[in-house]
Amino acid sequence: MTDVAREFVALFGNATFWDKFGATTFSWSVGLAITAAVAVPLGLLIGSSRVLLESTSAVIEFLKPIPPIALIPLGLLMWGPALEMKLTLIVFGAMWPVLTQVVYGIREVDDVALSMARTYQLGRWQTITRIVVPSVLPFVAPGLRVSASIALIIAFVTEMVGGTEGLGQMLVAAQSSNAIAQMYALVVLTGLMGLAVNAAFRATEALMLRWHPSNRKELR
């Protein structure tokens, strides 16, 4: 235990660590941003058209359970141990929770609000941005939080198995050289990274979902 703590502290004085940490954090955040940018509009598109939803459901359900880890060799073959491969796998693995949540969230849009939009001629764009998106946000939020940890996990695993730059490589090295304390220090670090991101999400949510019952000030 104290060994782990010591190793943990030692990490911060280690220049290589900061390189790898930077690489992991970078690919993770970029990957997550792409995930959101892809999955939310895609979910809105699919979720708001019955034809699209029915047509794509089989293919999506088929793709969802494919473990990104099984795709690493293919990714390596196509891109090598490069950032593109890592980002592709992150997006592939992390987009499903957001997509699923958006599709479900669309059902929750209040029909009185939609009628209102129609009578006031809000148009498709306004209807989507002003009514559908805010209604769906409470669904997107947990989806994104799940995706964030999945993205972190995939980043780590592609680094471990696929040799892309990052903390995962350090973990492999620690594992194979029996540096157990360092290994667990890295594990603790991933957990803390997840914790930090969650805090960031909470803060953003509290801001963006101020109106939502879950964030309204306790009335009692």
């Binding site: 708001s48 058209s49 019955r50 939803l53 029915e54 047509s55 794509t56 459901s57 089989a58 293919v59 359900e61 088929f62 969802k64 359970p65 494919i66 473990p67 880890i69 099984a70 060799p73 073959l77 499903w96 929770p97 699923t100 599709v103 479900y104 669309i106 059902r107 929750e108 849009v109 029909d111 939609l114 939009a117 129609r118 809000l122 498709r124 209807t127 989507i128 009514i131 559908v132 409470p138 669904f139 947990p142 989806g143 799940v146 940890s149 999945i150 972190l152 996990i153 780590f156 695993v157 991933t190 957990g191 990274m193 997840g194 914790l195 991101v197 969650n198 019952p213 879950s214 009335l219």
Partner: protein, 292 residues
């Protein structure tokens, strides 16, 4: 009716701005005989997968690419390896672990989400642990699992559970917190018991969000079959896929991946049946709002 309701509820959104004639047309054709409608739904669902399969088959025919074998050889390997006794040996333990892991994850997710969603104290105390744990990569948790739980099936179920519980937990938590304050007031004013509140008010109100979480839990459970069999396994779908990968048996890797996709597809079909039952009122409400 029941066939298309899951998705047709979304119609309203497009309708909000859809050109009117299209709407009119749809309504008229809706009036057709049930058989025709069901046929169309099946057609709608099948055209894309069938197209993908055909295109894949054609494009990969006679493939000499080492990592992209022809679909034909993949399906041959698939039927060789999965339609056999040995296939059963791999399939049965994996599916058993999947079902057990998913079931436990669902229960813990919903129960834990209810608790964390309804009590600020519980949430404040438990959330840091939750978010810490859910960020740990399962391949890293695996060794911990080995140390704590040994090498038997229990460990694999535990890996699936621990990895897949989070979407349901987070969604239930958020869903419970988002219950209309008016409904909370009503439950208090009528002195509903805790059990009644949970069973008749909170759970149904949070159901759409819980169900969405369960879908993702299901997806992750299937993925975790593979991860859980990374170590301490001598059989199972994950073992098959990983060993094939390690020994460059590309066609087998594809066949295993195909199987995972199929399991996901079938599991979601089953899930959809249960979901329609749970959310029947919501479906009816939405359909009703649309057709008026």
């Amino acid at each position: 009716m029941s066939v298309d309701t899951t998705s047709s509820v979304h119609q309203t959104v497009t309708e909000a701005a859809a050109p009117a004639p299209a709407r009119r047309q749809r309504r008229e054709s809706d009036g057709g005989p049930l058989r025709g409608r069901r046929g169309r739904v099946i057609l709608l669902r099948a055209w894309l997968p069938v197209t993908v399969a055909v295109v894949w088959w054609a494009a990969s025919a006679g493939s000499t690419s080492l990592y992209f074998p022809s679909l034909q050889s993949i399906t041959e390997t698939f039927s060789r390896d999965w339609f056999s006794m040995r296939g059963l040996d791999d399939l049965v333990p994996s599916l058993r672990n999947l079902v057990a892991g998913f079931a436990i994850a669902s229960l813990i997710g919903v129960a834990g989400g209810l608790l964390l969603g309804s009590s600020r104290w519980a949430a404040a105390a438990a959330e840091p642990v939750v978010h810490f744990l859910r960020s740990l990569p399962p391949p890293v948790l695996l060794p911990l699992g080995l140390i704590l739980l040994g090498t038997d099936a229990g460990m694999k179920v535990a890996i699936i559970t621990v990895g897949a519980v989070w979407p349901t937990l987070l969604n239930t938590m958020d869903g419970v917190r988002g219950v209309d304050p008016q409904l909370r007031d009503m439950s208090k004013a009528y002195g509903l018991s805790l059990g009644q509140r949970v069973r008749y008010v909170v759970l149904p109100a949070a159901a759409p969000q819980i169900v969405a979480g369960l879908r993702t839990t299901l997806q992750i459970s299937i993925i975790l079959i593979v991860v859980s069999e990374m170590y301490a396994s001598a059989s199972g779908i994950g073992h098959y896929v990983l060993t094939a990968q390690q020994t460059f048996l590309v066609t087998e890797t594809w066949a295993g991946t195909l199987l995972l996709g199929l399991i996901g597809f079938l599991a979601n079909l089953i899930f959809g049946v249960g979901e329609r039952r749970v959310l029947r009122w919501q479906d009816a409400l939405r359909t009703n709002a649309r057709n008026g």
